[in-house]
């Protein structure tokens, strides 16, 4: 368990600390990270005997969970069969993630799954039409996980320039939360990054940055279900 003393991250989404107004009909939550430039180790032989995942490549995934007024994820969707016969859960649920990229309401979706962090700016985006969102949703929780991080011995302490930000409909940045790889995050493979929640008839954004050791969002989700 952790207490976060990081400050200045809670803002009323209608205006920021400069009093600027935002068009909140649509908010984009962008997740970005860079591949860490590691000092070359082992040269030619290191490359020869290296794993199949290139050194310094991480697959970060953005996840959004829609919570009701009890702080629970009400709709866990259904299981579907993939083409290769595997069973895939949470399809069309209140969780938006790489296997269920569009929420059934159509008002929140993930733009795509970037598997390496290549490229500047947002590597993955979740788009939320806040003005369309059903009243039964009270909070949206955003997580980021390192896909198979435990298997690949990867953690947030190694990742550079990771950030989450919220941008309004006109592309104006509402809030940004930077997270450079520091020792606090050593061994941590997932993180509750931020939440957007209703308060006094308006939406607010709060950066949290609570790290967890698990490399899957399922462990956090289990705490947020009715069953």
């Amino acid at each position: 368990m952790a207490i976060n003393l990081v400050k200045g991250q809670t803002i009323d989404l209608r205006k920021n600390d400069k009093g600027e107004e935002f068009d909140l009909s649509t908010v984009t939550v962008g997740l970005g990270w860079d591949v860490r430039q590691k000092k070359s180790e082992g040269g030619f032989f290191g490359k020869l005997f290296g794993g199949d995942k290139k050194e310094g490549e991480y697959d970060l995934d953005a996840v959004a969970m829609l919570l009701d007024s009890n702080g629970k994820v009400a709709n866990l969707g259904r299981s579907v069969q993939t083409r290769d016969g595997r069973s895939m859960g949470l399809y069309e649920s209140d969780v938006v993630f790489f296997n269920s990229m569009k929420h059934p309401s159509g008002h929140i979706w993930l733009t795509g799954d970037n598997r390496t962090g290549a490229g500047d700016g947002d590597d993955e985006q979740i788009i939320i039409k806040l003005d369309q969102l059903d009243q039964r949703y009270d909070k949206i929780l955003f997580m980021v996980t390192i896909y198979q991080g435990r298997t690949n011995n990867q953690h947030f302490g190694m990742i550079e320039n990771a950030f989450i930000r919220a941008v309004d409909r006109n592309g104006k940045e509402i809030a940004r939360f930077s997270l450079s790889g520091d020792s606090t995050y050593n061994g941590m493979c997932s993180m509750t990054f931020a939440e957007i929640y209703r308060k006094d008839g308006a939406w607010k954004f709060r950066a949290l940055g609570n790290p967890h050791q698990s490399d899957s969002f399922i462990d956090e989700l289990k705490k947020l279900t009715y069953s």
Binding site: A2, I3, N4, L5, V6, K7, T10, D17, T184, P211
Partner: protein, 191 residues
């Protein structure tokens, strides 16, 4: 009729509803704003917070028992001209039975990076007010009493024979909020 507290002075709080108010004036210079924070630790017999929610600060404005409410963060001292900029409201009738003491601290946010201490802040004080009649019960002038420090343990409310009492401690530290938190919470602290 304010009483300026002597260190160690005790005051019987024969009341159930009080406010701890923190006030200061904005920085008129060109350097960074002064961002003072009022926080409260509701601690049990082990001198630890029973749950994370019993640490009331800018990031958690209501204790789980609804006994404490923090009015929210003022990052500059601009909320009020001459009055309280941050207030922690205390309803002693609602305090969770596990909580035996409530400690109040004031810290300067980011003081090291901004090279700040209480001596530079204009008209900063912390005080206890009786909500029934808005009378000031006790007050510290931070800038005069703790000029080179960045954190102050203001005082504590504690239960004795079923009654809440207040004891002023007035200890200054060159420390930040995480230092105080680490005394009363053994979990992870994200700074």
């Amino acid at each position: 009729m304010a009483i300026n507290l002597q260190k160690g002075q005790r005051i019987d709080i024969g009341l159930s509803s009080i406010s701890v108010g923190l006030g200061w004036e904005p920085n008129e210079g060109t350097s960074a704003a002064f961002d003072l924070d009022a926080s409260a630790f509701m601690i049990d017999d082990n001198r630890l917070i029973p749950e994370e929610g019993f640490f009331v600060f800018y990031g958690n404005v209501d204790s789980p028992d609804s006994a404490l409410h923090h009015t929210g963060d003022d990052p500059t001292g601009g909320n009020s001209d001459g009055g309280d900029d941050e207030t922690i409201m205390v309803d002693l009738t609602k305090v969770d039975p596990r909580v035996k003491e409530i400690l109040f601290v004031v810290t300067i946010h980011d003081a090291i990076a901004r090279r700040q201490n209480f001596g530079q802040v204009r008209d900063s004080y912390i005080r206890i007010v009786d909500n029934a009649n808005s009378q000031e019960i006790a007050k510290y002038e931070l800038g005069e009493d703790f000029s080179i420090e960045t954190g102050v343990e203001f005082g504590r409310l504690y239960v004795k024979e079923g009654k809440w009492k207040f004891e002023a401690s007035g200890k200054g530290y060159k420390e930040d909020l995480s230092f105080f938190l680490s005394k009363y919470f053994k979990g992870q602290i994200i700074k």
